[in-house]
Amino acid sequence: MAEGAGSREQFLPAQYQPALPLDRLILKDGSPGAGDRMELDVLIVGAGPAGLACAIELAQLAKGASTELSIGVLEKAAALGEHSLSGAVVNPRAFRELFPDMQDSDLPFRAPVRKEAVYLLTAESRLRLPTPPTMRNKGNYIASLCEIVRWLGEKAEALGVNVFTGFPGASLLVDGPRVVGVRTAASGLDRDGRPLATYLAPNDLAAKVTVLAEGTRGMLSQAWCTWQQVTAANPQLFALGVKELWETRHPLDRIIHTLGWPLPRDAFGGSFMYPLAPNLVALGLVVGLDYRDGALDVHSLFQRMKLHPLFRRYLEGGEMVEWGAKTIPEGGYHSVPARRSGDGVVILGDAAGFVDVPSLKGIHYAMQSGMLAARAILGALQAGDVSPARLADYDRMVSESFIVQDLYRTRNMRLAFKDGFYAGGLKAALMTLTGGRFPGRKITMQRDAEVARHIAPGVSPGPLVPDGRLTFSKVDGVFKSGNVTRDTIPGHLIVGWEGTAELAEFYARLCPAGVYEQVDGGLRVNAPNCIDCKATDVLGPRWTPREGGSGPKYKRM
């Protein structure tokens, strides 16, 4: 790389990204696995809000119809909710529909949103903005997604649903074009893939319908869409959010969103700060992965952000008790796959891209998609027909629901920001005024990995030296995520091509968990640090499932 701040080199992350390992993800030969085999009516991959709402609705409907259904849910986390992370301010709509006999006070929320504020930040000051209509949260609730998931999981189990925590779905079992089940990941292997005394062979779960509710950047969902050539008008776009939970001395009485600093102008994103309780505050920074500066580091920007007076005055003297990170599918309406159902399979929630960025909401869309899928699946099972034509009922129901209506209304808003913050802000305002009709056409986007990255020394602020009180290193963060992954499991990240020092540095900055390090121009991979955020799966090395129970152990994220 040439010296000097004026020099600009570019590279495309996509050039260095290994292909999705389809041969491992789609198993066509029908040979039995080494472990147990189990037959179910419905198998759901992922115990998040989408998968659990689907399981609950299915079990309730089956009960009402006096039908016996065997329903299983696979979850890679060791316990319910431990891989779930969100802001979160939740629209209770889907909860009310799923639990019609409950009051809002029975639901797993912390507090209603009473006050809210949106600020535009500069390094030293802040400007209060009028709350954009899409961001008004009156009637919504502050919650921890971990707590929501644990609560939903208990409801599902009470209805007879089998929730298998610690079992990641690793491959789709297919018969011709039909998905017939899932093979789980093995556990108890040593670094070279040899079985240890605790070895558990992969299990085969056969199901009449397989429900992919894997969450953001779901691997089986990606594999199925690639295999079946299901595309969308735009590629899916992702953002990376890094979040911390703080016990504070100074109470917070409102939800706060910010735009602007510390992000560069050509990056899209913002921060949030929500009180789960007056002295228990969730805060985070979300940045679109189409940022141009190859040296941008979301974790580091987030640490810097906390030094701003707006945050500092709440956090000073408090204690950071949890840390986590996750990607968010941000593409919206134009990035939702053309169909979310196929032969023996449906795709829900974040895995399908049901997220509305302008309102920063996804949980109620995820749950609603699960409930609609449950209705379609029950109909299909009762008719003894799980063909694509029959399961397309799910797609029809989604298209007629508020999920697609909401996403359609804001279809271009995130996309407007591809040209930078100010132009994007103006266009977004026009879109709001015209009810989504401006600019009258779809804005075409590239895959995040196809966006050229500039290596320009001096553009990004230098590394922040964490003080251990307000600011923390990535390793501190991983510790606070509860990650105690066995460090002798086989590597689960496919790095592929050996890149340049610049590429190694790009991965090192991109990954919030310190998995990648640039050492003497080469790339060192500390795979056990991985907290399954999937950021590098979007822009670089591929993520694959590893031994069940690996990764973070979030409690109240």
Partner: protein
């Protein structure tokens, strides 16, 4: 071979626990509970003995709140045959009262072995196993790290300071299990499914308070922050001075 395994529901060792407002108990809000890790060795050993014998029964017994059913289910998912929960909202601080409740359940059960973990990771008492042995008038070997059983005789190895002690004993007996005895298995999918249908008997129990009372709990003192003295050889004299005068370790 009929084996009883006594297990305890304890806070996950990775959980940050807090002291409740009464100053003498743990605040259980948001705390994840697990099967006591030392008890996992006991469950695993029982399963292996039953598997080797080809017949027999492994019964899991616990004293604890209703939520301890989940703890028992974990052992059932590993492969135990049935469970008994002596349900109480309050586990007495006095291990003898816990031992009395368990012994009352175990007596006349016809068990060849009664297994415990060496200790529970929440109270570190190491008491209940030996006390149950005494109440049942059975021989007891604690902290077993290796076990051989032939007919009605057993031989156990205990790791003691600087060596290994080998203890022979007749069956029936009470053993407490140590790390190293085996590598506990993870529940398999089929085991998890099967566990839901295995019998789990819940018996309301009211243990006496006993002679012990927890007066207060305090967290350990906060560790002082580290200090960087300097870098390179130049910092050594200052480091030595601090180790001598401040830390007083030299």
């Amino acid at each position: 071979m009929k084996i009883a395994v006594c297990v305890k529901r304890v806070p996950d060792s990775e959980t940050r626990v807090k002291i409740a407002s009464d100053g003498k108990s743990l605040d259980e809000a948001g705390v994840k509970f697990i099967l006591n890790p030392y008890d996992e060795f006991a469950v695993e050993e029982a399963l292996r003995r039953r598997e080797q014998a080809g017949t027999g029964e492994v019964v899991v017994v616990s004293l604890g709140p209703a939520a301890a059913q989940e703890t028992i289910r974990t052992a059932l998912a590993m492969g135990a045959d049935r469970g008994v929960l002596l349900q109480t909202d309050r586990i007495p601080a006095d291990g003898l009262e816990v031992a009395k409740a368990l012994a009352a359940e175990l007596t006349n059960g016809g068990y060849d072995l009664v297994l415990f973990g060496r200790m529970a990771i929440d109270d570190y008492n190491h008491q209940v196993g030996p006390m149950v042995a005494e109440l049942l008038d059975l021989p007891c070997v604690t902290a077993v790290a290796h076990l051989d059983i032939a007919g009605q005789r057993g031989s156990a190895e205990r790791e003691i300071e600087g060596g290994v002690e080998i203890v022979e004993f007749p069956l029936p007996a009470v053993l407490t299990t140590d790390k190293g005895l085996n590598e506990p298995r993870y529940p398999a999918l089929k085991g998890i499914m099967a566990a839901k249908k295995k019998p789990l008997e819940v018996k309301p129990t009211t243990p006496a308070a006993g002679g012990l009372e927890v007066v207060a709990m305090t967290p350990p003192p906060q560790r002082k922050e580290g200090k960087v003295v300097g870098e390179g050889p130049a910092a050594v004299p200052e480091l030595l001075r601090l180790l001598r005068e401040e830390a007083k370790v030299l």
